[in-house]
């Protein structure tokens, strides 16, 4: 096939990374916040919203919106990389560390993986080891304001060291399991773990 013609003057919006070792391979830096959704934006009223940790725990634990807001929270300033090749630097989120949530339950000894599940049916799977030690948080604020529904509000999981599809929007719970279960994209061609530094984009990568 012939090479596509270069369109004179077109450079696109991406910026070539000049951040040294800060931007994962194959990524370009953007200042946008693209909206990525696999379905309609849910609008669960806050008085009916809960966040649950369940599965291989001594007793499941649920928080109402008020209870969740009362948990210790802080700002997280992190870089985010999407498998669609954009990276955005220094995104400022506000939320609750997953460690804080897990401290409220007694994990079974066999606990090894976490299934994050969301309003609308989205799921994503993570090794437990990828969400502990302050590596992941449930965010309800972004850039000094409440999280908007299109970006995952009222609350979304954020796992900054993995591709952004692991950061489930509209999160409603974490199910602790002993055996891994591929989620929405992991069961359909995408890598099970999704480390941007290893370019773990597709299954088999």
């Amino acid at each position: 096939m012939a090479e596509p013609p270069v369109t004179r003057g077109f450079v696109g919006r991406r910026r070539t990374p000049d951040q040294g070792k800060r931007v994962p391979p194959g990524q370009y830096v953007t200042t946008d916040f693209p909206v990525l959704s696999a379905g309609p934006t849910p609008h669960t009223p806050l008085d009916r919203w809960t966040l649950t940790v369940e599965g291989l725990v001594a007793a499941p634990k649920s928080w109402s919106w008020q209870e969740f807001q009362a948990l210790p929270s802080r700002d997280f300033v992190v870089d985010i990389s999407c498998v669609t090749k954009w990276t955005r630097l220094d995104m400022r989120w506000h939320g609750v560390s997953v460690d804080t949530l897990l401290e409220s339950v007694d994990l079974d000894k066999s606990a090894a993986f976490v299934i994050a599940y969301s309003d609308g049916g989205y799921t994503t799977n993570l090794p437990l080891a990828d969400v502990v030690n302050d590596q992941a948080f449930v965010a309800y604020g972004y850039d000094g304001a409440p999280m908007t529904p299109e970006h995952g509000g009222p609350a979304r999981l954020v796992v900054p060291h993995l591709y952004f599809w692991k950061s489930a929007k509209w999160i409603r719970g974490l199910r602790i399991v002993d055996r891994d279960q591929p989620g929405f994209w992991e069961s359909f061609g995408y890598h099970n773990r999704g480390d941007p530094w290893l370019e773990e984009r597709y299954s088999g990568d």
């Binding site: 596509p4 013609p5 369109t7 003057g9 077109f10 450079v11 696109g12 991406r14 946008d32 693209p34």
Partner: protein
């Protein structure tokens, strides 16, 4: 083997339609004819190999020639449309593939009255239908309900006005949602059920409706049409959304 392949298009003409909208005429060797309402995928390639792809509706009626017009609206902060509006010059080249879409098309030989509902640049595929209808000298009644923010935002204003004057059964009803012309007595609000109900009184309920525009406009117009008794099969919709600009 591919039933669809990328073709190299060369810019043959550029025409400003409104302050934010231009029509780009393309010479596309290898182009097979299209039907009114279809679109193309456009692919731009940067010198370093980076590519960006978008879809644009074809504005022109089929001509039998390898020439098509695309009408593009500048999406603020977009990646592709600002380039096409601000940077593109005669003779520039990029790729297109198409025609695409057998769903949102109208058979120019159809005899049912036509009701076209457009919001903003949603007029583009409907304009291809209007031009096609005129080209084949159809007398099938056709009503265009066209929502624009201001009179300056009306795309194809002169041509639409001329076609409506020709007496071939094309009727144009404008609504201006933000700024109205001096002395305006027509609609000055978003398209709603009452407006569509009034339009349908003259069009009749046998109309084939094509609705194109921003998603909220399409949703409310389609709901109104169903509410007023049209069957889902009489309503075809095409949503224009912020999928990257």
């Amino acid at each position: 083997m591919a039933a669809i392949s990328w073709l190299v298009a060369t810019v043959a003409a550029i025409r400003a339609e409104t302050p934010r909208v231009k029509t780009i005429s393309l010479n596309v060797p290898g182009w097979t004819s299209h039907r009114a309402g279809q679109h193309v995928d456009v692919r731009l390639t940067a010198a370093d190999g980076y590519q960006a792809e978008r879809s644009y509706s074809i504005a022109s009626a089929p001509t039998g020639q390898p020439l098509i017009d695309l009408t593009v609206e500048r999406v603020p902060d977009g990646e592709v449309s600002p380039f096409l509006i601000d940077e593109l010059r005669l003779g520039d080249r990029f790729e297109v593939r198409g025609p695409i879409g057998g769903y949102f098309v109208r058979d120019p030989a159809a005899v049912d009255p036509l009701l076209l509902i457009a919001g903003g640049s949603g007029i583009v595929p409907l304009m291809a239908m209007i031009r096609d209808r005129s080209k084949v000298m159809s007398r099938v009644p056709c009503t265009l309900l066209y929502s624009s923010r201001t009179p300056d935002d009306v795309i194809y204003a002169t041509e639409l006005h001329q076609l409506a004057q020709s007496g071939d059964g094309l009727r144009i009803i404008d609504t201006f949602t933000r700024v109205q012309p001096p002395g305006w007595t027509g609609y000055a609000r978003r398209i709603d059920m009452a407006m569509i109900s009034e339009v349908l009184e003259t069009t009749g309920r046998k109309a084939q409706a094509f609705v194109c525009g921003p998603t909220p406009l399409v949703e409310s117009a389609a709901e109104a049409l169903v509410g007023l008794g049209l069957s889902p099969g009489q309503i075809k919709t095409e949503r224009f959304g912020p999928s990257g600009g």
